[in-house]
Symmetry: C2
Subunit: 184 residues, 2 copies
Amino acid sequence: MAGDATETRKKLLAAATEEFAARGIAGARVDRIAAEAGANKSLIYSYFGSKDGLFAAVYDAQVVLTIDAVPFTADDLPGYAARQFDHHRLHPTVQRLTTWSRLERGTDASPIEAIASSNIRKITAIEAEQAAGRLPTRFSAYELLSMVLAIANMWATGSHQPPGAADIARQRQSIIDAVKLLIG
Amino acid sequence: MAGDATETRKKLLAAATEEFAARGIAGARVDRIAAEAGANKSLIYSYFGSKDGLFAAVYDAQVVLTIDAVPFTADDLPGYAARQFDHHRLHPTVQRLTTWSRLERGTDASPIEAIASSNIRKITAIEAEQAAGRLPTRFSAYELLSMVLAIANMWATGSHQPPGAADIARQRQSIIDAVKLLIG
């Protein structure tokens, strides 16, 4: 019955992704996740150990999906920022999970492995561009990455949006232009 | 007993600020807030109408405190961004409330009056600088404000901080340098 177990695990992860994205870690109910997945609640504990373990599995999987969907291009940071914007606009789940994690797990929580290794790869790639003289060195690679991500996400995290301001094409262009200035 | 009522209202707001910042809207418990304030739970409903009403009162008050503590200087956006960073580092409450609000109330929620009016003042001030030729017009005033805030908050919202990266002076300087490039 290994196939059934894999199927059940998948259903639990899918239900948990919805539940955590909508309600956060404290707000999520394992009963609701189990019911939604049509599975026994005890399976959550055997597969994932705890509600926190389930959250980590959900978050890690979503991060991996995002990393695969938005390839990092150190030689085209404006394009990367724009693609990150496109992806998050259509798939807001990973950003919501990131934000819940920051609020609820804090910065002391053990980092998600997929994020940590992806960041190291991104920073290494930026450093290579800097060493080759194709990116300025006024900022460290880590600072540059942080700025690019802050700009890429500015329209998603802003709470200061006046009505009618959500012109997607304009938002996307402003991200490209801002990153160009930062690396110009 | 108007003095007592004012005092009780203040204590409820103080306890609610702690509770909402730590646990968010759904996670906050009015019982805990009332107990912490040494007040009867029913007073929360007579003073604020509901848990959501209490959150709005808490959030509005924190926003007003932040606006007073960090004056907006359209003629010195790098300095404004740095002071915003300083304030949020020492007083993370308002950023946590902002983030909970975004996650839990969504973007359709009625905006906090203090935020809406403050943003209009900021945008008007940037537009005046643009009209006077002291700020570039490649971005709208609203886009420029959004970028400045995204950069000012990049070290608080980043979930990608490697250990040891939190050199405060360096973070502050990188914010100033980035905003200078955006308005240069």
